[in-house]
């Protein structure tokens, strides 16, 4: 059971206090989008082995959504950041690159 720290309320809590929300930084495509773009938004996910950026909600705490950079292999949590950020914060990015020097976000 993972330990995650909510970046909004600062509380480190067990996984059962959160709900997962899948891959982060998806670009929403609405009316007018091509079939290809819409398919990518709705169905295609990176699902990588290694650092992943994902959505979590502190459901049984402050109720806020946040994003986490987490390693799907080692389960290392590189950091968490508010859902309003378009990219991982520099601090989180540095933390990922410390373990994976060639890592780039797939945003």
């Amino acid at each position: 059971m993972l330990l995650l720290t909510c970046p909004h309320c600062g509380i480190a809590a067990e996984e059962t206090e959160f709900n997962p929300g899948g891959e982060a930084h998806l670009k929403r495509h609405g009316p007018g989008a091509s079939d290809e773009d819409f398919e990518g938004y709705l169905f295609l996910r990176h699902n990588v082995k290694g650092p992943v950026l994902e959505r979590w909600r502190h459901s049984y705490g402050c109720g806020k959504w946040f994003l986490a950079a987490r390693d799907s292999v080692t389960l290392q949590v590189y950091g968490t950041y508010p859902a309003s950020l378009a990219h991982p914060s520099d601090e989180v990015g540095d933390s990922v690159r410390a373990a994976h020097p060639n890592w780039r976000t797939q945003i």
């Binding site: 330990l3 007018g32 459901s59 309003s84």
Partner: protein
């Protein structure tokens, strides 16, 4: 505990010794109806052995007689049924169960009795039960599997029997936190705990048995004193907690450790929870779980009396029990010589030490020789003489095919094929293993540890669990030569002999089975495991895995390292469901949500329907009414007079702020920003897949304030859905949401006399002119503050009254009193369902199932064509969603008056690729309508609305198909005049 001066219980109890028993207290117990005695401090296993009980069970597949093999958790054979009634528990290991006064125990897998078991007929047939037997045999004819093979196999298979009554004991859970958790209270664990405690931080030490010290007090001179000194030091440290009888069962992500503490196992008189499940968060875990001794694969190695060498000396030293009077030791290593010495010290005879190695001249073999015991090097066991008891063993050259070279008389064989570190916890959460070739075992790969949330290693392994079997630095023992790798005895054993060499005792897997699996192409260790069931029993292969892997490797002619090992998964030992559930059962399994009027409904004998965590009145049966009668009465009362429904559970989400209208235009398919203040509008909500997820009435309370009603089950989900979009997509929009569901009680007053009832209460103008359909007003009715909505889910004249939750019951009772002259009738959810179905109104979860879009339900009118975007709009433009071939909502009218079963499919011409009939629609709602006096149904049908009048065929199991005509889904009051009153 009684009779302090009782004679030594059992003929195999030694006259002196036994470091764990208290001879002052003799304890009676029952085994298969025999009355036996042991001492306080005995395990069930030691008490049985002390009483001369060698045969304790029958094996799983062949019903072979089986005796006690081990002295700890790795025991594969001695699984007993314990206790009676609700406290009965199957598959309890005799070796880890403390003897309690009056304990009632029984052997398993034997019928009619342990001594004359008819299932043993399987044994002579074992050539016909090879690996993969089930897969090969019960294939044809296909139908026979369901009706013949499976029921028969199920009756014959399985260990033990499940208890039939509820468990009367209490269980509890507790949270634990420590910077360091040490698992294992042997010398390595205690030493590691002391070192960790000196560094600081909380240190928690868990020991699975009631005793500290592990093997050290038995195996090493002065060991008990060393352990005692360590314990004294640890007990003096404030940051150390020592917890015995606590089994760490699994290590999970980020240092989450589960451990079961036995508080009052098998002692119902103790006023304690029986077990406590610790949910521990550990900064780091030090695994000091020791090692398990391995059997040797020789013919007849499962005959009762063949035991692990370490277990034999445990029974002698710890419990003063002689597993035999004349013991033969068979070994691949020096360690087993300790058993010979312990037996000699206890005055028992050692027939010989049979050592597979060509040379044995270590300190321990020399010590045994010095005591006058013959050491037969280069020798193996060709076979064991005896069935339920051992009479002797046949000897052979280890490096041969098994030609008998001699015979030893003995009544017990103590075997040791080396040791396997207990690496389970290390492996549970990702630690890798390596094959230690000189040692002949898997041990943790130090460079591939499990890691914590910060990416740093959070598990360490010490002592025997790390492959340091002698823990020489702590015990003062000399380092012994590693065990020879003796995977078969003799090395060139014949095919016939391999049929009698057991690897996995509990699942009856033999050397021959693993060889067959390899020959048949199961070269992956994970496949071979599943094909043979090696290591898949309740002991999870603690004594068998490495032997099995080695045999597989030999059959594949590859090193063990290339074969690898199967995955270790929690739990390490079985956990009872009682501990996993703990207090979360019965009434407190989950919270129960009650409306403010719950007690009123309860007092009227309401039948309940669970909706989410709520309980809603399903119907209110009166006198001897059946539910059907009661529901019909309620429906007719609503249609003919006035009824009242507790609608408090409906979700109520307040959406406010400068961008609230813009936001709701995205959330709903319809236009909500244009809704005038004071008006209500029905809305549909989709997800971005386009599928309908919820519906309800939206109310505009003020310029910047909307109240969104959701379904009862949808309130939290929809609130979460709104927050997801607000926080993650449109986080710069100024919108605030609040889930007010529980703040208001809500009452629907429904029927032609609804207005009369409200007027009788008085206080507000409820005329059609003052309060038209789909509007609301705030005011007071009979002195009660209400928000009055004119909305209808039944097609009747209908009002919904919201009031602060605390005043809900008073308002309900006032309405009931005022309604008495009008015959007001409380009605439940089932009447509500029928009323809506008669009107063709959809219900989320009936007409929708996560694959239905609003267009399927002919709800185009509720989808705005003006809006550039809403959640789900783009998806609804996908070709599959826009297809004219989608199944769409229609009414269905049964031709012969039979009700259509819920969910049945309408068949079409032809068959699909699987040879099944093609289908063209299905029933989504079906009811007996008392209003119309006939059954009604709705369904989704291909091209449905274009096929009015066509007749569909719905096959029904066990009866003739129901034929039904496609009709308008609005069955009642098609003009919709009744809602106007």
């Amino acid at each position: 505990m009684s009779r302090p001066s009782a004679p030594p219980p059992g003929p195999f109890r030694l006259a002196s010794g036994g470091r764990l028993i208290d001879r002052a207290y003799s304890t009676g117990f029952r085994f298969n109806r025999r009355h036996l005695r042991g001492f306080k401090g005995d395990t069930l296993a030691s008490a049985l052995l002390g009483s001369g009980v060698a045969l304790v069970g029958r094996s799983f597949k062949y019903h072979r007689p089986r005796g006690i093999l081990a002295s700890g958790v790795e025991e594969p054979n001695a699984l007993l049924g314990l206790g009676q009634g609700g406290r009965f528990e199957p598959n309890q290991r005799a070796t880890t169960t403390a003897l309690m006064p009056g304990m009632v125990t029984e052997s398993q897998n034997a019928w009619p009795s342990l001594d004359s078991d008819v299932g043993a007929i399987n044994a002579p047939l074992w050539r016909f039960f090879p690996a993969g037997f089930y897969y090969k045999t019960f294939i044809h004819p296909r139908a026979a599997w369901l009706n013949v093979f499976e029921p028969v196999i199920r009756r014959a298979a399985g260990l033990g029997r499940a208890p039939k009554q509820a468990d009367p004991d209490r269980y509890e859970q507790a949270y634990g936190f420590a910077e360091t958790v040490v698992v294992g209270g042997g010398i390595a664990g205690l030493s590691a705990a002391r070192d960790a405690a000196r560094e600081g931080g909380r240190v928690l030490v868990l020991e699975q048995t009631p005793h500290w010290g592990g093997r050290t007090p038995v195996d090493h001179a002065g060991g008990e004193a060393r352990v005692g000194a360590l314990l004294d030091e640890l007990r003096g440290m404030e940051n150390v907690t020592l917890r015995r009888n606590t089994q760490a069962t699994g290590l999970y992500d980020h240092g989450y450790l589960l451990a079961r503490e036995s508080l009052a196992d098998h002692d119902p008189k103790a006023d304690l929870p029986r077990q406590r499940l610790w949910r521990i968060r550990a900064g780091r875990v030090i695994v000091a779980t020791g090692a398990h001794e391995r059997p040797i694969a020789f013919a007849g190695n499962d005959v009762p009396g063949v035991m692990l060498a370490s277990a034999v000396r445990d029974y002698i030293v710890n419990w003063a029990v002689a597993p035999g009077r004349r013991i033969a030791v068979v070994t691949s290593n020096d360690d087993a010589y300790r058993t010979a010495l312990a037996a000699l010290d206890a005055g028992l005879e050692v027939a010989a030490v049979i050592d597979a190695r060509p040379v044995a001249d270590g300190r321990l073999p020399q010590a045994v020789r010095a005591r006058g015991v013959e050491v037969l090097t280069g020798t193996g066991i060709a076979g064991v003489r005896g069935g339920k008891l051992i009479s002797g063993v046949d000897l052979c050259a280890q490096d041969g095919a098994g030609k008998v070279t001699g015979r030893l008389d003995c009544d017990c064989v103590a075997m040791s094929g080396g040791w396997s570190p207990v690496v389970h916890l290390w492996s549970h959460c990702g630690g890798r293993l390596l094959w230690d070739e000189p040692g002949g075992f898997f041990r943790p790969e130090p460079s591939r540890p499990p890691t914590g949330p910060d990416g740093a290693p959070n598990v360490a392994v010490v002592g025997a669990a790390d492959g340091d079997l002698a823990v020489a630095a702590l015990t003062g023992a000399e380092v012994e030569a590693p065990s020879a790798q003796v995977w078969l005895m003799p090395a060139q054993a014949t095919r016939k002999a391999r049929f009698k060499m057991w690897l996995d005792y509990q699942n009856d897997v033999k050397v021959s089975d693993v060889v067959v699996a390899a020959q048949e192409g199961f070269v992956s260790v994970e496949h071979a495991k599943r094909y043979t069931t090696l290591g898949m029993a309740t002991d999870q292969g603690k004594t068998s895995n490495v032997n099995g892997l080695a045999v597989l490797s030999e059959a594949l002619a590859q090193p063990v390292a290339a074969t690898g090992t199967t995955t270790f998964r929690p739990p390490y030992t079985p956990l009872t469901f009682g501990a996993i559930a703990a207090e979360a059962k019965g009434a407190i399994f989950q919270p129960l949500r009650r409306t403010p009027m719950h007690a009123w409904h309860e007092a009227r004998g309401a039948a309940w329907e669970p909706v989410g965590l709520w309980r809603r009145p399903y119907t209110y049966p009166q006198g001897g009414e059946t539910h059907t009668d009661a529901i019909n009465r309620e429906i007719l009362a609503v249609r003919g007079g006035v009824g009242m429904l507790d609608a408090s559970t409906l979700g109520k989400i307040l959406v406010t702020g400068p961008d609230a209208g813009r936001f709701l235009d995205m959330v709903y398919t319809g236009m909500m920003s244009s809704l005038p203040v004071g008006k209500c509008r029905y809305g549909l909500m989709c997800n971005d897949n386009g599928f309908l997820i919820d519906d309800g009435v939206v109310v505009r309370l003020a310029e910047d304030q909307w109240l969104c009603h959701t379904t009862t089950g949808g309130a939290e989900r929809i609130h979460g859905h709104m927050e997801d979009w607000l926080q993650c997509e449109w986080f710069d929009w100024k919108v605030y949401t609040a889930n007010l569901t529980e703040q208001y009680a809500q009452i629907a007053v429904v029927g032609p006399k609804a207005r009369d009832l409200l007027e009788a209460l008085g206080g507000m103008d409820v005329s059609a002119e003052a309060l038209p359909f789909m509007t609301f007003a705030d005011g007071e009715l009979g002195g009660h503050p209400v928000r009055l909505y004119r909305i209808s889910f039944s097609g009747e004249l209908s009002f919904e009254l919201a009031t602060p939750a605390g005043r809900g019951l008073a308002l309900w009772e006032a309405l009931m009193a005022a309604g008495k002259p009008f015959g007001v009738t409380p009605y439940g959810t089932e009447a509500m369902h029928v009323l809506r179905a008669e009107k063709g109104f959809i219900m989320i979860g009936d007409e929708t199932d996560g694959t239905v879009i609003p267009q399927d339900l002919n709800l185009h009118w509720a989808i705005s064509k003006k809006k550039a975007d809403f959640i789900g709009k783009r998806a609804q433009e996908r070709s599959f969603m826009a297809s004219p071939d989608r199944w769409r909502l229609v009414g269905l009218e049964s031709l012969d008056g039979r009700m259509l079963p819920d969910g049945v499919y309408a068949v079409a011409e032809g068959v699909n690729a699987n040879g099944q009939r093609n289908v063209q629609g299905r029933v989504t709602s079906t009811y007996a309508s008392p209003t119309l006096g006939r059954p009604i149904a709705m369904g989704l049908v291909a091209h449905g609305p274009e096929r009015m009048g066509e007749i569909l065929e719905f096959p029904v199991k066990g009866a003739d198909s129901v034929r039904a005509r496609i009709v308008d889904p609005v069955f009642y009051d098609k003009e919709g005049t009744r809602a106007n009153g």
